[in-house]
Amino acid sequence: MGKMSGARAILECLKLEGVEIIFGLPGGVLLPLYDAIYDSDIRHILVRHEQAAAHAADGYARATGRVGVCLATSGPGATNLVTGIATAYMDSVPLVAMTGQVPTSLIGKDAFQEADITGITMPVTKHSYLVRDAKDIPRVFREAFYIARTGRPGPVLIDLPKDVTVNELDFKYPEISLPGYNPNLKVHGLQIKRAAQALMEAERPVIYVGGGVKYSDGHRELLELAEKIKAPVTTTLMGIGCFPEDHPLSLGMLGMHGTKYANYAIQEADLILGVGARFDDRVTGKIASFAPQARIVHVDVDPAEIGKNVRVDIPVVGDAKSALAELAKAVEPKAWSPWNDKVAGWKSDHPLDYAKGGDTIRPQVVLETICRLCPDAVIVTEVGQNQMWAAQFFTHKDPKHFISSGGLGTMGYGFPAAIGAKLGCPEKEVFDIAGDGSFQMNIQELATAVINEVAVKVIVLNNGVLGMVRQWQDLFYEKRFSGTTLTRIPDFVKVAEAYGALGLRATKPSELEGVLAEAIASDGPTVVDIIISPDEKVSPMVPAGASLSEIMELVGSSSDEEASPMVSLGASKSEIFELEG
């Protein structure tokens, strides 16, 4: 291909990797690269804050299954990406983050806008590169994309000093040679046999799936296996949508704000098949009393996850999709059992519930209405109560249609991620289920959405408070609402209009459906301000550090009639403080 500048070589690499869109914001050291972008076919979306570039690339990746790409300048531009990179790392999202860097001759001299971004991001990247020579660009990009999307996916950072983007190189896209990187995808036949046998012997099996099933595209194989052996299926927050929630075998989500029946099933199970999930603390509750009667089979592409948090009886290292396919082949069909009846009984006795009626709009009804009007929508969430209601009260059926910051729990993620998701899937309806706290963290991206005509619908469940933290203060801190009252919320309708977006508002239950229908009918970015009560709670709830068996119902508890949950738990306050961690 002959000689070209580093900047042109970078764009050539992106093209060869099939990149169609990048999210970024320029700066001094990126001038040569942005000059090359000016002539390129790759679509560049100019964000208003670099954090949003990382989240948008992340949302794009989760919605499309492709590698998301973001770009920021050296120093503050690069450090503004860090939250987005860490968010992607915790949730195993394939991302390539490019950062500008001061010229190689100035590195280490505390130059203007210099930051050691490879050093800063080392704990939150799957791998990173500081390119010191233009001729390394093709190899580095090839490796970065390969590492980001294979095995357990994750973010890879490429730091690009200015002179490296100016200097010339002979462009040749090399073969990959990474002797230290061999993602183990093929499952071990003997382990599959042992796992299948355990499934056949089990009388009370539960399949527990996480994001790994989503990323490996294994939801069909999961359905086949579950139906063949009539095993109930519960998902983590990251696994939502991998199993259709209207299916008789679905238990919905488990864990801290999971369904009672999912948590009861886990605690009563004699076998748990965990697939592409990592038994984290929000899922297991108190680890010592998690699934006390169960043998555990754990399938994961990352061997380090197996045995990290729980003892595992049968480890299966490999890709979730192929493991599920092999398991489905290896098992014999089973009939509907007394266990299935028991689980079905829990499902009908303890459904997800909320207080109905009253003059204020119920957030749960908002989600149910969106689900009724737009069942195939992509639901992106912020973090907090909005996220949990979105997980609970929308009936999820498609693995790529629920996008949420699970591991890091990043407020401000949802709106830019929704922009990325909508740009990746323009034919789909995309909602950002937001709170008034989270939405204000990246509200400036209204400009990005309007200018690029990204028709995202932001549903602000506006309670005027930082609701999830307030819920804990209500339950465990004697209603001392320290730092959780936002006092003066901007008029979101006016804010939307100021940016050129459509702003709508619903304050009464009777207005809700009409306003939502209007938002859905709108073909541009729309903000819907929905006023809800600050006393609405996410229910049920397992207090941090308690056993899943101690799940408690909070419906109606805002009215002070219920005894303190701590008393009903039999846990002392100091124990709860200690376990909150």
Binding site: P123, L130, P179, G180, P303
Partner: protein, 163 residues
Amino acid sequence: MKHTIALIVENRPGVLVRIAGLFSRRSFNIDSLTVGATDKPDYSRMTITVEGDEEVLEQVTKQLNKLINVIRVSELAPEESVERELAIIKVAAKKEDRSEIMQIVSVFRAKIIDVSPRSIIVEVTGSEDKVEAMVRLLRQFGIKEMARTGKVSMVRGSRAVGP
């Protein structure tokens, strides 16, 4: 319990930071860490001693294997491997102590590599225990300075942990 791990890593900038960072981030305790060349210039060898039970060792090994620049990770069981450490020790050596110091040096098959009017530098090679024993004996004369390499280790027989 102490475990010795041999690592073959790519010889690139930043690799040591990645490994050290992994240990601190995941709260693994490093007792000692040595790095040196292998017979292939693209690769280095590290010997790391970690403190912890079998579960810790398993996590350390798996997490190290995830690093792209780490080529091989191998636990070296003490009964199946040879290990050596080198120390150089500057000992205060008054006239009346010199002969005793030299006797100790000879018993340990150590070497004197520098002599000055008030001090001697001793070089000792051997297992960690041997080096420890030597240090203990020399302490009575006054150790002015000491530099230890940390342990290097290799499996016995023909099995090789190479790049």
